[in-house]
Subunit: 181 residues, 2 copies
């Protein structure tokens, strides 16, 4: 049984973001062979500028690329703002374009508000163009339910959805490695 | 003849960005009844966070909203990163969603690389959802031509395209005001 390291990325900076709560619930629900840890907050990165990228990669960007590179799999949960991906998440992805860290990496994209599908589709498109393997897109309907991460983890239906996300990622990493470890 | 104030917004922070060069050429080409001025660099804004928006709007965001609010019309030129709108531009737009400044405002969206159309479409969609009037989308093919802003302004074909952009915006502001001033 190999440990699977999952990197959790929230596209929202709000303290009580339902996207962040989903990911926190994933931390709680992870089985013994899986660790889920959060990326540094995405606002610790500067705004993408290819002049800066060419001159000298900022420390925070190096750390961000390393976080992505060391992960076996990634889960992203992000809000939709005005039918688009949140600027803060897109900016973080912009810094990965010049690297190789996300290449071939299994990614699961959660959607806490399934009726908002435009940004979700745009995010999946961007990830694919960047070379990520989007192996799973799971709608986790939280709209209208005021649940924090423990409430989510305690809800049998939602917990089952999130456990399936981890199990799909596990399968994908094993497929890529040529079979179970 | 009323003065038309046009706000120019570049989605790239690169010093020699072709999108910024296009907008600089627009400044040069503006007729006497039109001023084109740049927004403050978009990386002077913080990352969008609705907790911050609700608690106290940062000074830079207030200035950004005011810039948009005072403009008669807006021109945006932005690169496409991984089939998406640049994070820095999307973040700036995210800060406008909670305000009214862009509502009904005529906007022209330039595309310096017409073969990159996914982000362009996504940007137009976001602007429309935000209540802006996208009155013009102009492709200004710069790919493979190493032109700075004076080179662009000196090229008769490109200059004509950019002058038409300003003239369409002028027409749109007059339509909105119920006829020529």
């Amino acid at each position: 049984m190999t440990l699977m390291r999952v990197l959790a990325i929230s596209g929202s900076l709000r303290e009580s973001s339902s996207n962040t709560s989903l990911l926190r619930a994933l931390v709680t629900l992870a089985p013994a062979d899986t660790t889920v840890h959060f990326s540094a907050p995405l606002d610790s990165l500067p705004f993408f500028n290819s002049d800066v990228e060419e001159a000298r990669l900022p420390q925070s960007v190096q750390a961000w690329r390393q976080d992505v590179g060391l992960a076996d799999a990634i889960v992203i949960s992000s809000p939709e703002y005005a039918h688009g991906v949140s600027g803060v998440l897109k900016n973080a992805l912009d810094w990965l374009v010049g690297g190789v860290e996300i290449n071939g990496k299994p990614v699961s994209v959660l959607n806490a508000r399934p009726q908002a599908s435009v940004a979700h589709g745009a995010l999946v498109e961007t990830l694919r163009v960047m070379g990520a393997r989007v192996v799973d897109q799971t709608a986790v309907p939280l709209t209208g339910r005021k649940l924090d991460h423990s409430g989510i983890a305690a809800d049998p239906e939602l917990a089952a959805l999130l456990q399936a996300v981890l199990s799909t990622l596990r399968q994908s990493t094993e497929d890529a490695a040529g079979g179970p470890a």
